[in-house]
Amino acid sequence: MNYLTEERQNALSSEYVLGSLHGPARVRFQRLLMQHNSMRHTLWRWESRLNELGTALPNVQPAPEVWERIQARLGFTTVPPVTSTNVLSLPQRKPRGLQWLAGLSAAAAILMAVLLVNLQPVEPLLPGQIAVVQSEKAQALWLIELREDQLLVTATDKFKALDNQDYELWMVAADGRPPISLGLLPKQGKLSLPRSVLFDQVQVAALAVSLEPLGGSPTGQPTTVLYTAELVAM
């Protein structure tokens, strides 16, 4: 049932877009948005109307680092893994401790690389993968283990949760489909989440963590993406 008059829907939506709706009224409005399709449409019309004001502002170019950080956040700029078919190919990302190699002749460098590659112990491929969700300050917040039958998530003591918010985990598939919710993350301790069958069906570009109202995303899509992390084979 739609108990709100059109006039009331317009009043709430327009002030929500403007940003002048706040406190409990704003929270109630967000809840109404989840419940009423007509409210969402009214909101979209106001977003479309009022944001025309913003289109008229003169452009100001942000620093180039902004685009670099966006690409890094989305996992576009990670170095692809070195293929193992050719042992002579030098690793693209040199370990920090080997930078002195650059000073040697190319022949010696290649020889060293061959030796180093050959010295690596051959590890059996484990079925599991892990991801570490890090804060902007590179503190580990959650450890996520993708196991055969579950996703095991551990919140670290570095993680300080907001009481009135939840943190939701998402799978970002490489094929560009919308993110898929994997469940709410624990605010402390360990939690086992069901393993989505999609892990076996699509290529996973990254995992993402979003900040959500209590109970998780109202829209089925991440509200505010806070962090992304890559899954790596153990």
């Binding site: 944001n51 025309e52 942000p62």
Partner: protein
């Protein structure tokens, strides 16, 4: 050519995972989104963060766009403005709880302070012009600077009740004018 047609093409390619299209969309729209967040947040670092987060969301949510949500550009502006409003609320609540560190970096002398006063005229301005002066100013302060009723009240030195009425009536008149 209609820029929305161009943006629509880039956004739909972005929804398919096309990184080049996304880069092109960024190149063509980041200046606008940054201007909007700079106007609201008044700090380059915070404004950059808002733009960065907005584009991460645009990449993930490109497939959710539909024409009912406005033009591609107004949809993208919504995303960055909601993010900037959240950041403003967080900054303000931290300021109220006594974290003074945030005040220092606010640069009140920054040249972009009143960007909105030099903006181009767009269709909606025809209707903004028909509002009473107080209604128009209050709506512009709330929209461009993300000010709350109380802050608009301080800025305009007008009672809170009057500001609330100006904004509410102004928005109602704006709607009638835009629909006529």
């Amino acid at each position: 050519m209609d820029p929305n047609h161009d943006f629509l093409h880039l956004l739909s390619a972005t929804a398919q995972g096309d990184r080049l299209a996304f880069a092109d969309l960024y190149r063509q729209t980041a200046g606008k989104l940054y201007a909007i967040s700079l106007q609201m947040l008044r700090r380059r670092d915070l404004a950059e963060e808002a733009v960065q987060e907005a584009f991460v969301r645009i990449w993930h949510n490109a497939g959710d766009y539909q024409q009912d949500k406005g033009t591609v550009l107004t949809w993208m502006i919504s995303i960055v403005r909601y993010r900037a409003l959240d950041m403003l609320r967080a900054t303000k609540s931290r300021r109220e709880t006594g974290d003074e560190g945030l005040e220092e970096a606010l640069d009140e002398q920054s040249p972009e302070q009143e960007l909105y006063e030099q903006r181009d005229r767009v269709r909606i301005d025809r209707c903004m012009d028909r509002l009473d002066e107080g209604q128009r100013q209050a709506i512009e302060m709330a929209y461009f600077r993300g000010l709350t009723h109380m802050e608009v009240c301080d800025q305009m030195d007008t009672p809170l009740g009057t500001i609330k009425t100006w904004i509410r009536r102004g928005l109602e008149r704006l709607k009638r004018c835009l629909e006529s």
